[in-house]
């Protein structure tokens, strides 16, 4: 009479999935852009509106694109980590100031320190859409060929920097 064991077996499988599910974060959405060329853009620079910045300018170098904004609460959390890291000069960090006011953004950097090689201004969030930004801060690791190799959503912590981002940067720079 094995068929009476079927409900129990089905239930056991279900519990297994639920247990694995508990270890996952349902809000973490992987980006389909990983492994694809970084979308091209040309935007004015934060500190010099006359000059512009293009993603293409970084061809041949490994770089980080960090999306931030002065209104973003968790950016405040990751900022000291970035400032510390920028001091090592290992890899250029380009800021993308997302849907922000230029004055606010400048003031923010003056107060908290500026880890960015330069910051591009994405005032209407159009470039953000191309990069699939949905929760600032977000960080992209882009290789020498201009391919996105990794996307980190949420504030960068020392742990995620040392365990995830830096090893990848080292590998890509070789």
């Amino acid at each position: 009479m094995k068929r009476f064991l079927l409900p129990l077996a089905a239930f056991a499988v279900l519990v297994g999935f639920l247990a694995i599910g508990l270890t996952r974060d349902p809000r973490d959405v992987p980006s389909p852009l990983v492994g694809k060329p970084a979308p091209a853009f040309t935007l004015p620079q934060l500190h010099d509106a006359g000059k512009s910045f293009s993603a293409a300018d970084m061809k041949g170098r490994v770089w980080l694109l960090n999306v931030w904004a002065s209104w973003c609460v968790s950016c405040r959390e990751e900022h000291p980590v970035l400032v510390e890291f920028a001091k090592t000069g290992q890899v250029p960090i380009i800021g993308l100031d997302y849907k922000d006011k230029v004055a606010d953004a400048r003031q923010w950097l003056d107060k908290l320190g500026n880890p960015y090689t330069l910051t591009a201004v994405d005032a209407d969030g159009r470039v953000g859409i191309d990069y699939g930004v949905y929760g600032v801060p977000e960080t992209y690791v882009i290789d020498k060929q201009g391919i996105i190799r990794m996307k980190h959503t949420g504030p960068i912590t020392p742990e995620s920097l040392n365990k995830k981002i830096l090893p990848l940067v080292a590998e890509l720079s070789r």
Binding site: M1, F4, L5, P7, L8, V15, L18, G21, L22
Partner: protein
């Protein structure tokens, strides 16, 4: 002091649950009368202690005692008293306390109304409820204590989520919990019957009214939640297939199947195993729902705070409760007799088809709800399963079920005469066909889906009315309450289907920019914006729009939608204004201010027959309650005690 008393009562309740869960069970196995006799007083004490504990928590809320962490997180001195009370179940800890209070309440209810049942059976049923309560109380005491103190006390509370500051919070969760915790009684009866090895028609008759009562509460609870979402979320949907909604809908589907299969088991003694399995399934789905809501494994609009360690605890609880009952099932089920025979065309078969369809529906909802989690667990990426999926797979399963509603009650037990049934359905068929052709055209546009909906609704409604008429002809005075209950519930479904069909097919939506004096037309009505002013509320500031609703130049009413800014959370909340009517709702909600000249974005909906959706649910629930009061459930069944054990052979 009050919180400590509450906490102490909670611990005592845990101890009584231990007594209620363990002693009567052993007593029933070893025939120790004193231990068996413990069940009732233990269940009643258990309930009183939890009620006291709950009252203590409520008192802490009403007294703004922010030294209680849970109160500090979910209340605020500016919060109106009624919401301070409802805030008791506005967060995780308190809603679990409500859950277990309901559980003990159902147990106490069983203990006082089960005089006609054999003592051993009652002892086992109450013991099973006690065991479930032990698990839930352990969960509350060890991971989610609502009485935990916050030292030093907060000066001010963080406030209740503005979304929850609504009369809906006062009624919806208690009703919903009454319902899905209520399935614990059917579960306890099933498990008790499995333990005793006595699965008979008497068992089915005993658990039927309890199952139906729980189902009624769940129906009302779900309907209220749907109505709340309709007016609160600001865009006029009534069902979103959100995981949390699905969590309450799956037990409803399983419970509906259970009500019908209990009918077979009670009347014909057949399919006992299946009925027992459904009773276990209905409550398991309730527990699963609690897990899904409380563990945060799925994202939902309900955005409950979640904590993985709590998730692990509920998962273990789920595993123990459901796992052990299914093991018991696998052990006992093979020895259960088959019951009375019947022909292929019979009431029995109809009810079984109903069961298959409802179970498939519940399975589909389960699959869709958990699929993102399964894919993620297998490392295959992330995806979303939303309303378009559920609507696509759900409708094909529901259509045959709705068709069957008109047919099933016509079939006789054991052996039905197809020709006779066809004759009695002829007229309904013609009327349904006419409705399918004519009604959609009258609404302005004929589409296959609306035609199908109208056809189904009229098919069910007319067949129900004709069946009542036939009954009255042969003397309706002696028709039992459950006869009226069944037909009323089925008629409620017809009303529901009309609502769903017409609002789905013919609602109109306008998203417009409006300045004072502007007019928007929708569904033949005109809405003129007379002005937008600001007004203070108890704990918020509101922008209140004044709209004049008119039709053909005749002013009908003034509507006041609000956009509220709550002080404590700075969250903007939309309060739609609705002119509800028998045939349509006019629904206005304020969007955002657009510029300095005072223009606002405004959403206006014309929702034909939308209230029929909830009216239908209320009719279903009313039908259920009618069935519950049927005299035969309260008869002192002497025979039940002496039914020969051979039924189990």
């Amino acid at each position: 002091m009050t919180p400590e008393l509450g906490h102490f009562a909670l611990i005592l309740a845990f101890v009584t649950a231990l007594m209620q869960g363990v002693l009567p069970l052993i007593g029933a196995q070893r025939r120790r009368t004193q231990w068996i006799a413990l069940a009732r007083p233990a269940a009643q004490t258990h309930f009183l202690l939890l009620a006291f504990s709950f009252a203590c928590l409520a008192q802490s809320f009403l007294a703004n005692d922010f030294s209680v962490a849970y109160v500090a997180q979910n209340s605020n001195t500016q919060l109106p008293a009624i919401y301070r009370f409802a805030a008791v179940w506005g967060g995780h800890e308190g809603s679990l306390l409500l859950w277990v209070l309901m559980l003990s309440g159902w147990g106490a209810a069983v203990s006082v109304t089960s005089r006609q049942l054999p003592e051993v059976m009652v002892a086992r049923v109450l013991a099973v409820l006690g065991l479930v309560s032990i698990g839930m109380l352990a969960f509350i005491l060890f991971t989610s204590n609502p009485f935990a103190r916050l030292l030093p006390a907060a000066a001010e509370g963080r406030d209740l989520n503005p979304l929850l500051q609504d009369p809906g919070l006062v009624f919806h969760p208690p009703m919903l919990y009454m319902g899905y915790v209520g399935f614990s009684v059917a579960f306890a009866f099933a498990v008790a019957a499995l333990i005793s090895g006595r699965l008979d028609a008497a068992w089915a008759r005993w658990s039927r009214p309890w199952t139906t009562a729980a189902w009624c509460f769940l129906t009302i609870g779900i309907a209220m939640g749907s109505w709340w979402a309709y007016y609160e979320l600001g865009w006029g949907g009534w069902w979103f297939w959100d995981p949390v909604e699905n969590a309450s809908f799956m037990p409803w589907l399983a419970g509906t199947a259970l009500i019908h299969s209990l009918a077979i088991t009670e009347k014909r003694g057949a399919f006992k195993n299946w009925t027992v399995l459904l009773a276990i399934a209905a409550f398991s789905l309730s527990l699963l729902g609690t897990f899904l809501v409380r563990s945060g494994v799925l994202t939902s609009v309900h955005a409950f705070a979640s904590d993985p360690s709590r998730g692990v605890f509920i998962l273990i609880l789920l595993g123990v409760v459901i796992g052990s009952s299914l093991t018991l099932f696998a052990w006992r089920a093979p020895r259960v007799s088959a019951g009375g025979a019947f022909a292929l065309v019979s009431r029995e078969t109809m009810l079984l088809i109903n069961n298959v369809l409802l179970v498939v529906a519940a399975g589909s909802v389960l699959l869709g709800t958990l699929y993102p989690l399964i894919i993620d667990a297998l490392g295959l990426g992330k995806l979303s399963v939303g309303p378009p999926y559920f609507n696509t797979v759900f409708v094909p399963v529901m259509v045959p079920l709705l068709l069957l509603i008109a047919v099933g009650p016509l079939a006789r037990w054991k052996h039905a005469d197809l020709r006779d049934m066809a004759r009695r359905l002829r007229l309904s068929f013609v009327l349904a066909l006419l409705a399918g052709i004519i009604l959609p055209q009258l609404m302005g546009r004929w589409t296959p889906m609306t035609a199908l909906g109208c056809l189904l609704a009229v098919w069910i409604a007319s067949s129900t009315v004709f069946q009542i008429a036939e009954r009255l002809k042969i003397g309706g005075g002696n028709a039992p309450a459950s006869f009226w209950g069944m037909h009323l519930a089925h008629f409620g479904i017809a009303v529901f289907v009309i609502g769903v069909t017409l609002v789905g097919g013919y609602q109109e939506e306008k998203d417009v920019r409006m300045q004072t004096g502007d007019v928007v037309s929708v569904g033949g009505y005109q809405l003129r914006l007379l002005g937008i002013s600001t007004a203070p509320g108890p704990n918020y500031r509101a922008s209140v729009g004044e709209f004049e609703l008119s039709k053909n130049g005749r002013v009908l009413k003034t509507l006041h939608p609000e956009k509220r800014q709550y002080f404590s959370s700075q969250m903007p909340m939309t309060e739609a204004a609705i002119d509800a009517g028998l045939t349509r709702d006019i629904y206005v909600s304020l969007g955002e201010p657009l510029d300095q000249q005072g223009a606002w974005s405004v959403r206006v909906y014309f929702k034909p027959f939308v209230d029929w959706i909830w009216a239908g649910c209320l009719l279903m629930a009313a039908g259920g309650f009618l069935a519950v009061i049927d005299r035969r459930y309260r008869l002192r069944v002497k025979a039940a005690a002496s039914v020969p054990a051979s039924v189990t052979a």
